[in-house]
């Protein structure tokens, strides 16, 4: 029922966004303030400093990129670039920039800013900069309104790279020579005092309390943004955030900003809307990462048995309060292009799991125990602890004695990705708009690299998987590429270098007085110039 309602909300929002006037759709109103809450507080207002959620939420209102996007799969639309052409060999992309765009400090925006941003800021400093622009050999600026990207080899998702959070265009004049030459980009003043081209500009930042963004009066879209102000309230306590939303002090809690139990409670209130839509292009995915270096976890039957011992439906309903759905493989089911829709849910079958472990040569010994494993979990909050407890209990039923270790984020990252000193751990990753960006790094053997976070910590090596990922990375979307994804999904489901658990939804909860939030697969990381309040 709730899902149906959400689809309606989504459809209405979409209709609004593309300008179809639904009979009941209201006319957007200009003015007013939208207050949202998130914790922790951003450490900077630029995704160059870090791409952490609070930073991306704030920075995407201030900065823009060359393109904007529509729909869950991110169809490119004009942004700072009003048009673009792609050469037949897909090695040259030419962007025509919009005329008359101004930075928040009044200076004109030019092609030099684009070249500088991608070459000197995004590629070296953004966490996915090398993924997007590693193949770029040259960026040419024949005139102030033209930018030409030359590529070494085709990149299938190149036109999806120009998102405000992924490839923000920053002003060349916003950095001092000292900051650029001294390699002090992350410490640059502009990280705290942003100068963008976006619909909102920073007005006030009271640390530990709030940030106020105000309308950019010179924004290039006529009549936009609708809102006068955008306010971030930093509320560190989850229950206090929920109360603020419930009371109407806060209009929006984006990206699962509230504890799951509170989200479930608030989603039933008449004045609020709750939706998991709008994050399709992020593709959040949660799995158990398995250290395959030693027995018994090097045995595929053991991994399959673990998978079969976990009831994913129950996990979603009980631990995550209905937030999310069972995972069906390395690509999220919300991905409209690359997900293989014929894939079935993973089997939950304790008997079969026991049989697999018997076959693998691990009979039950004293105390009904076959073997012992150590479990880590992502230190993101109490749900992760409870999930670890649930997994410990379920694996106990098939004779695997699990000891759970608790460490904080610094310790977790060290242990999993630098020391490789673990048996299995829960983990949370993103597909992003294309599996080449988000999934490849976890499964190919060249990503077995000590110290690389969210890489192939499992020591999973399969030449066919490497080959397929590399093939898909060079093809444009189409039947041939989809065939590669299909085979990859089948292999990874079978070999289980990780146990795919659930697609945790990013739930957004907002007051009904707010309109126009859902526009595409990165709705919360969009500029919100079309958002309005009653």
């Amino acid at each position: 029922m709730r899902r149906v309602k959400m689809r309606l909300v989504w459809a209405t929002a979409f209709a609004l966004a593309i300008g179809v006037t639904a009979a009941q759709a209201q006319q957007p109103k200009r003015g007013g303030t939208l207050t949202y809450t998130f914790h922790p507080e951003p450490v900077a207002i630029s995704t160059i400093a870090t791409t952490a959620v609070p930073v991306a939420l704030a920075a995407t209102k201030v900065y823009e990129s060359l393109l904007e996007y529509e729909g869950p799969g991110l169809e490119p639309k004009p942004g700072l670039a009003e048009s673009w052409t792609v050469s037949p060999d897909r090695l040259t992309y030419t962007f025509r920039l919009r005329d008359g765009v101004k930075w928040h400090d009044g200076k004109p925006f030019t092609s030099e800013d684009v070249k500088f941003s991608i070459e000197s800021i995004v590629r070296p400093f953004h966490s996915r900069g090398r993924t997007y622009f590693g193949e770029v050999t040259a960026i040419e600026t024949p005139d102030p309104r033209t930018v030409v990207f030359k590529l070494k080899t085709p990149v299938p998702y190149f036109l999806k790279a120009f998102q405000a959070g992924e490839s923000p265009i920053m002003p060349r004049h916003g950095f001092t020579e000292d900051e650029i030459s001294g390699n002090r980009i992350r410490q640059a003043k502009i990280m705290q005092q942003p100068i963008g081209t976006g619909p909102f500009k920073l007005k006030e930042w009271q640390r530990g309390s709030h940030i106020i963004f105000e309308r950019n009066p010179d924004y290039w879209k006529a009549g936009r943004p609708y809102l006068d102000q955008l306010v971030l309230r930093v509320l560190p306590d989850g229950a206090a955030r929920a109360i603020a939303v419930e009371k109407g002090e806060v209009d929006l809690a984006p990206m699962s900003a509230l504890p799951p139990a509170e989200m479930q409670r608030l989603s039933k209130l008449p004045n609020l809307v709750s939706s998991e839509q709008g994050s399709e292009a992020l593709g959040p995915l949660m799995w158990l990462e398995i250290n395959m270096r030693e027995k018994p976890l090097s045995d595929v039957r053991v991994r399959q048995a673990i998978s079969m011992a976990i009831d994913r439906e129950k996990l979603v309903d009980v631990i995550w309060y209905g937030n999310g759905k069972p995972s069906r493989g390395p690509i999220v089911s919300g991905n409209p292009v690359h997900f293989d829709k014929t894939l079935k849910p993973f089997e939950y079958n304790v008997q079969k799991a026991n049989r697999l472990l018997d076959e693998a040569g691990y009979p039950r010994a004293a105390g009904n125990v076959r073997f012992k494993l150590t479990q880590n979990f992502l230190p993101y909050g109490e749900e992760w602890v409870r999930q670890a407890e649930y997994i410990r209990q379920e694996l106990g039923k098939i004779g695997i004695q699990v000891e759970t270790q608790s460490v904080d984020m610094g310790g977790w990252l060290r242990r999993i990705y630098t020391d490789w000193n673990y048996d299995f751990t829960s983990n949370f990753t993103h597909n992003y708009v294309d599996p080449t960006i988000g999934a490849q790094r976890a499964f190919t053997s060249d990503n077995i690299r000590k110290g690389a976070s969210f890489s192939n910590s499992m020591d999973y090596r399969n030449p066919r998987v490497d080959e397929l990922f590399n093939k898909a990375a060079a093809l444009d979307d189409g039947p041939e590429r989809n065939q590669a994804w299909k085979e990859l999904q089948a292999i990874l489901r079978e070999e289980m270098p990780v146990i795919f658990l659930i697609e945790i939804g990013y739930t957004n909860i907002w007051n009904k007085r707010v309109h126009g939030l859902l526009t595409n697969g990165i709705s919360m990381y969009s500029g919100w110039d079309g958002v309005w309040v009653e």
Binding site: P40, A52, R186, P236, E249, R414
Partner: protein, 324 residues
Amino acid sequence: MNTARFIARRLLQVLPVVLAIAAMNFLLLQLAPGDAADILAGQMGHASPELVEQMRRDFGLDRPIYQQFFIYLGKLLSLNLGTSNIQQRPVTDLIMERLPATVLLMTTATVVAVALGVLLGVAAARRSGRWLDSVISVLALVVYATPAFWLGLMLIVLFSVYFDLLPSGGMMTIGSGKTGLTLALDIARHLVLPATTLGLFYVAIYARLMRASMLEVYNLDFITTARAKGLTEGRIAWTHAFRNALLPVVTLAGVQFGHLLGGSILVETVFAWPGLGRLVFDALLQRDLNLLLGILFVSSVVVILANLIVDLTYGFLDPRIVHK
């Protein structure tokens, strides 16, 4: 004159203590696995080992521990607390932004707690063994045993959600543009619930301590003498017993000041109070070494100063105590 020399000597003693504390903090923090570069890499989702190494170099975390330590000490001696690794801003700025909020909250809570606690403690002691004493003692125990975050949430539900009398969090109305007196009143309104939550916990402590201390003093000979002289009970309590019984309370208040950071973390979290408590908590989780060291340094200085003030107050309360 004596007092001035005492203060000067105590301040000189402070220096080695502060350095020792800084050294211990530094070494203790090395025990936690992972560093700020790990955390930033984790936040970024997919940082290459090269990027992590680059950050580690930028932060100076690739040097041997002893080098890092001496660099840190050198900076500390010139009162330079360095730059936060995670936030990339001067530690002094980060602390100074938050210090006033914490000092305001703690001072209000402490003043209210001491005043109320002392009054209740005296009242309970004067009616020792009777119903008022029992009521105060039991209430004090209940409040003392109540977790601050729960009490805070209940106060929010009651006064903010249900009666809609007070704001649920924050330090001031956002974007109201208030100044002067109206701003002060606005902050006061926001201060009521967090200061009450924090204060109630301490009221309980002070009330119990003051009661015990008063009862002890009541058993001393000079009180018996006072009674024999025919003084009224009120006069005995306030003029004779009170000042003597206050000594342990003052000692405790000085020690409690050390909780300036620790004690307020939960309350600052629940009420979104933009103070130091939250900053230290986040810094710890994020392995923000410089920021943590900076806050610990500032807090140790504050504790030392608070204890100095306590020592001086002794002499005022009990003239027999002379500072040599």
